[in-house]
């Protein structure tokens, strides 16, 4: 597995992440039908289609530029809570990486941690409220713990932690967002935003493993 990626490598990594969202639209719709109004999948499709176009348009990107391009496209094109949250994650997460030529394990951890912090601040939400934060927060912690081993191991750890975190949202009661009003009826279903985080990080891990 690779220890770091340059800007071109990061672009390919993000294209793989976008492809995973685009092929997961039906799953995301199903998940959102259970706890929300069923539009998470189509919103994420709009956002990540725009992200693919933005990534293709970049000339000689740095890792930070590629990550920021995804965030800007997602924020402008997704709409709804998902656009603000996923756009904020990528845009804020990219900022501390500016000027760095490669994305390594520590860079990934910084991207996840800074993004997470910005998402929590923007949405006024925290872990345990059945949102994408329940996948992103454990992913950030796992990436930091594995950062020294390089990008591959850090991504593998982050993806696994995100998956476990998303799975854990099934048992949670939604206390923020539109699903909040479902109360007990929100239990038993995976949060669609947490599922999206898992798709993104899982596809990045698989891309790196295959490459």
């Amino acid at each position: 597995m690779k220890g770091a990626l340059d800007g071109e490598g990061t672009r390919a990594l993000l294209q793989a992440a976008a492809a995973a969202i685009l092929s997961g639209v039906d799953r995301l719709t199903e998940a959102d039908m259970a706890t929300g109004d069923g539009d998470h999948g189509i919103g994420m499709r709009r956002g990540f289609e725009a992200a693919v176009a933005a990534l293709s348009g970049l000339e000689a990107p740095s890792p930070a530029l590629a990550l920021k391009a995804v965030g800007t496209a997602v924020m402008a094109s997704t709409g709804g809570a998902a656009g603000a949250v996923f756009g904020t994650w990528f845009r804020a997460g990219a900022r501390p990486l500016e000027g760095q030529g490669t994305l390594d394990g520590a860079g990934l951890a910084t991207f996840l941690e800074t993004g997470l912090e910005a998402v929590c601040r923007r949405g006024g939400a925290a872990e345990g409220q059945k949102t994408m934060i329940d996948a992103l927060a454990p992913a950030a912690r796992a990436a930091r713990a594995a950062a020294g081993a390089g990008l591959g191991p850090a991504l593998a750890a982050a993806a696994a932690a995100a998956g476990a975190g998303a799975e854990a949202t099934r048992a949670m009661l939604a206390t923020t967002g539109k699903a909040r009003s479902l109360g007990e009826r929100s239990r038993g279903h995976i949060d669609p935003g947490a599922l999206s985080v898992t798709l993104i990080l899982g596809a990045m891990r698989d891309h790196l493993g295959a490459g």
Binding site: I42, M75, G79, G80, G123, G177
Partner: protein, 334 residues
């Protein structure tokens, strides 16, 4: 599951095509912000405090049908049931700004809050002052002590009417914000769902309700309400809904209110008038006067059947702005 029956072209372009049709329906009084799903008044006077509204599409004529004289100056349109992106809000805000700041008025949903806040940050960087008032009128969404968890529903209609009037008269953003906050503190709504609406892009219903069931307190997007129950009489439903409203503010003997009975899409005017009959019987018994009655179709949820009842307690100032003439595609007063 069968797809809902709708007359559409490309289901992924519904908002784009709706905005195009709405601009034309305004006969030149409202124009599109180039490149964005946003509409603004053509004739906003110089030096006016600007009122910008917005939210997810699919609720027409709200929000973007409420742009016009003594109403909103512009609206940012999201995708169906999804908040508009910050870029749309930012572009609409810049188009309505006339040098005295902008009031953002919209329903309290996580997506709207975040996207409008991001846009407000961008406008702050541009040196444009923005204030925000979120409508939180749905009493079924949370108890009164957790008003920040309450959604904005048909209270939006009276809020846009009153704040639109205030923004037309007052030259200070502080004053417009003060009036908006007072009106918001005095408005309460409760809805009832009879059958679901559907998302145009997927054709799937936004919730599932059995043929013989209704849900009192259900939100505009299928958010769960107070209680799912067997369908019953108009009088019994009105009793439940009005009871919840009166207890919440609480409204008291001697109060005078503005009343809205809003159709979520597929309920008949006949049903709403029958409900109105009972609402007025209860209000008369409680010694509460009605200054103005509004019964119609303003906040829709596609083909959802059901309606909501809104009360706003009035004082002389709010009454003045409520009574002002206004004009727009979706709401007019002579």
């Amino acid at each position: 599951m069968t797809r809902a029956k709708k007359i559409l072209n490309d289901p992924r372009r519904v908002v784009e095509e709706m905005v195009e049709g709405l601009e034309l329906a305004n006969d030149g009084r409202v124009v599109r912000v180039p490149g964005h799903a946003a509409l603004v008044r053509r004739d906003i006077p110089g030096g006016k405090v600007a009122l910008l509204i917005g939210g997810g599409s699919g609720h027409e004529p709200l929000f973007h049908g409420f742009i016009g004289h003594n109403l909103a100056d512009g609206a940012a349109c999201g995708q169906v049931f999804a908040a508009p992106a910050p870029d749309i809000i930012h572009a609409a805000a810049r188009a309505v700004h006339r040098g005295r700041g902008i009031l953002f008025l919209y329903g309290n949903y996580a997506g709207d809050n975040m996207n409008f806040d991001i846009a407000a940050d961008l406008l702050g960087d541009d040196g444009i002052e923005v204030r925000t008032v979120r409508v939180r009128d749905d009493v079924a969404a949370a108890p009164p002590e957790r008003v920040h968890d309450r959604r904005g529903i048909a209270g939006d209609i009276l809020m846009i009417k009153i704040v639109g009037g205030a923004a037309a008269v007052h030259e200070s953003l502080d004053e417009v914000e003060r009036i908006a906050r007072k009106a918001e503190a005095n408005v309460r709504t409760i809805g009832v769902a009879v059958t679901a609406g559907s998302l145009p892009e997927t054709g799937r219903p936004t919730f599932v309700l059995a043929d013989d069931e209704i849900e009192v307190g259900m939100g505009a997007h299928g958010e769960a309400g107070v209680r799912r129950q067997k369908i019953t009489t108009a009088d019994a439903v009105a009793d439940q809904m009005v009871g919840a409203l009166l207890a919440d503010l609480p409204f008291a003997r001697g109060d005078e209110i503005a009343l809205v009975i809003n159709n979520f899409g597929a309920t008949t005017m006949m049903e709403m008038l029958i409900v109105n009959r009972r609402v007025r019987q209860i209000l008369a018994g409680a010694g509460i006067g009605v200054h103005r009655t509004h019964i119609g179709t303003w906040l829709t949820v596609q083909e959802m059947a059901g309606f909501s009842i809104t009360f706003m307690r009035l004082d002389d100032e709010l009454r003045r702005f409520l009574d002002m003439p206004c004009d727009s595609f979706g709401f007019q007063r002579m």
